[in-house]
């Protein structure tokens, strides 16, 4: 069988051989050259296509080189390109006593390089035989001198150091990193991966000059009103860019301290407060949205006091008239009038409006330090208290967002600390009916510009400031304490809002010596007559806007 097979193969080979032999040699050679030429053309085409492809790649699609070095962390800039954080590598120097050959010689040499060091202590450490750090963050000059000693026992470690040229100014926004280059709070934590891998610095929306002026005023008024702490947020109402966010007291990031005192809490985004009458604007906006009220809708025979369960709801101002329009309710900050509007709205409509503007649930923000509004069960009494801003909590950041939506024409915004590209397209999604903002803005302006309003101290010429005050007692277990949270939300300019500013004072006290200069009338007044937002946070907001206003008016003219 095998023999037969081999015979068949031989025959086939013979035939093929005969056939090929009939062709000329020249033809065979030409085919080979043609084949090589063909292959060369194919390779050239592939190469050309590859070149064309590479040439057509857009800059954005270029593959970025990822740096995953242990000692790398991208810098952080403000909106104008100023450094907020800069990484520099530093060297820590240590000694391993087990590798020391000539101890005396080493100590003499080290004493020449570090004359101010306590060498009796170093000698003790050398005798213990355990590794120890001789000097941290040494200069490059000293490092060179040390290396020239050529002692094997001297060990060095390259470390990443973050430098914060603005010291305390952005402490709560930027946050801290640990010794292993891991972000532990603020932007350093939430953008940890990006900062470790991006070759470009991270640009924020904040403005250093404005942040400084806002902080300066908060610090000044901290000593005047002796508050436990304070916070301020300045945000663009049209795109949610945060230009300034300060929480006081703050801390110097360069000191790298472990913060244990709860007073260093970020009050602007993590502090959860009952903010009082600032919520009345939302109640009225919800009523307008549901077509249940108009600005001139009258509420007649309003009681001075209302009973709801065990609690009594009363007016702050006893002189408030019994007949009020919706506009007057907001201007005079009427509690009972707001309750009546809330009752007309009913639970579902008010709840869905508050949910829509983002004050009820935890906000999704660029830093992880965000507060969670305390959940509650809605009922008749809750509806009544929520209508005038009591029994409901939120953060100042969410309050700013809510006011931005209500005043910017009804468009949804997301508060942000990260600066978008110049080519970024802002998608505008309307969530509140057109026209409501105009009505609300006119009332907010009257709160500041008229005598009946509660925020006359913020009426600075040239800025068309509008706003709403909120004075609330702080909650304690089972009730309210005497300590207060005074808030003022300012919108300016009210004819076409651009900025929202929230100023919150945590537990302020009256000042006996502070001199108020009236803005809606002539004269001045010494001492704080009432511990209300109108006499505290409004004054602070007014002073801040007076200082930052010229910068906003000139620097951000085109924006």
């Amino acid at each position: 069988m095998n023999e037969k097979n081999s015979q068949i193969i031989l025959e086939e080979y013979e035939n093929k051989f005969l056939y090929r032999k009939s062709k000329t040699n020249l033809n065979i050679e030409f085919n080979r050259i043609a084949f090589i030429f063909f292959m060369f053309v194919v390779i050239s085409i592939i190469f050309s296509i590859q070149l064309l492809h590479l040439g057509s790649l857009k800059k954005d699609n270029e593959v970025k080189t990822l740096i995953t070095k242990k000692n790398y962390r991208a810098d952080i800039l403000d909106r104008n390109g100023n450094y907020l954080v800069k990484s520099v590598s530093s060297i820590d120097l240590g000694i391993n006593p087990t590798e020391v050959i000539d101890e005396k010689r080493l100590l003499v040499n080290l004493q020449l390089i570090f004359p101010n060091k306590n060498f009796s202590e170093i000698k003790k450490k050398l005798n213990k035989g355990k590794f120890f750090y001789l000097e941290k963050k040494i200069s490059s000059q000293n490092f060179e001198k040390i290396m020239l000693l050529g002692d094997k026992s001297i060990k060095y470690e390259e470390k990443l150091t973050r430098i914060y040229p603005q010291k305390n100014l952005f402490s709560h926004i930027i946050g801290q990193i640990d010794d292993d280059n891991q972000g532990i709070s603020g932007i350093e934590k939430s953008f940890d991966k990006e900062l470790k891998t991006s070759t470009e610095p991270l640009s924020l929306t904040v403005d250093t000059d404005i942040q400084f002026l806002v902080r300066e005023e908060l610090e000044r008024f901290q000593s005047i009103f002796r508050s436990k702490g304070s916070a301020a947020i300045l945000m663009n109402v049209n795109n949610g860019e945060i230009i300034s966010m300060v929480s006081y007291p703050d801390f110097d990031l360069n000191k790298r301290e472990a913060l244990k005192d709860l007073n260093f809490l970020n009050r602007a985004s993590k502090g959860v407060y009952e903010l009082g009458s600032v919520f009345k604007t939302f109640t009225i906006a919800a009523g307008l949205e549901a077509n249940l009220i108009e600005v001139d809708t009258e509420f007649l025979n309003l009681e001075k006091k209302l009973k709801c369960g065990k609690s009594t709801i009363g007016e702050y101002d006893d002189k408030i008239p019994s007949d009020l329009t919706v506009e007057q309710i907001l201007i005079r900050s009427g509690n009972i009038g707001s309750v009546r509007i809330g009752q007309r709205l009913e639970i579902d409509k008010l709840r869905s409006f508050l949910d829509k503007i983002g004050v009820l649930k935890t906000i999704n923000f660029d830093i992880e330090e965000v507060g969670e509004p305390i959940p509650f069960r809605w009922g008749k009494c809750k509806l009544a208290t929520v209508s005038f801003g009591h029994g409901i909590t939120t953060t100042p950041l969410q309050l700013a967002k809510g006011y931005a939506i209500v005043t910017n024409g009804g468009f949804d915004i997301k508060p942000s600390l990260i600066k978008k590209d110049a080519n970024h397209i802002w998608n505008k999604k309307r969530i509140i009916k057109e026209g409501i903002s105009k009505k609300i803005n006119l009332i907010l302006r009257k709160i500041v510009s008229t005598k009946e309003g509660t925020a006359g101290l913020a009426n600075i010429k040239g800025y068309q400031i509008g706003g709403k005050t909120g004075t609330a007692q702080k909650t304690i277990t089972g009730g309210y304490s005497r300590a207060k949270v005074n808030t003022f939300v300012a919108i300016f300019p009210t004819s076409k809002p651009k900025y929202v500013m929230v100023v919150l004072l945590d537990e302020p006290k009256i000042s006996e010596n502070y001199i108020y200069k009236y803005r809606n009338k002539k004269g001045s007044y010494k001492g704080t007559p009432y511990n209300t937002a109108g006499w505290t946070s409004v004054e602070v907001a007014g002073k801040i806007i007076e200082k930052i206003g010229p910068i906003l008016a000139t620097k951000y003219m085109e924006n």
Binding site: F37, F40, Y83, K86, S449, K461, G462, A553, T554
Partner: protein, 102 residues
């Protein structure tokens, strides 16, 4: 035909080697430039840091109190003027105009 093909191949090989050689030279230049840019970038970054620190609002206020006797004053926005040029003449207009309800 054979000669032409061989000539084309030879020319192509020569051109490829020449192009590759010049590309390599450019690549070397790019590398050298990148290296010098990198060191310049580091230097620029350090200088910017120094500038940002020395010109930070906190420092400027410190210098003001240290070297000047007069206090810094707030600018009234109503006094800020805008400069514009029309027909070779400079015009000054108010940045903010008084609005009715103010």
């Amino acid at each position: 035909m054979k000669k032409v093909s061989l000539l084309i191949i030879f020319v192509l090989i020569l051109a490829t080697s020449l192009v590759k050689n010049s590309t390599k030279e450019i690549e070397d230049k790019i590398f050298a430039l990148n290296q010098s840019i990198r060191s310049l970038k580091v230097e620029f970054g350090d200088l910017m840091l120094e500038y940002n620190f020395l010109s930070s609002p906190d420092k400027l206020i410190q210098y003001q109190s240290q070297y000047f006797e007069k206090e810094l004053i707030k600018i009234d926005v109503m006094r800020i003027k805008e400069i514009s040029e029309k027909n070779n003449t400079i015009e000054l207009t108010d940045l903010k105009k008084m609005i009715k309800d103010e």
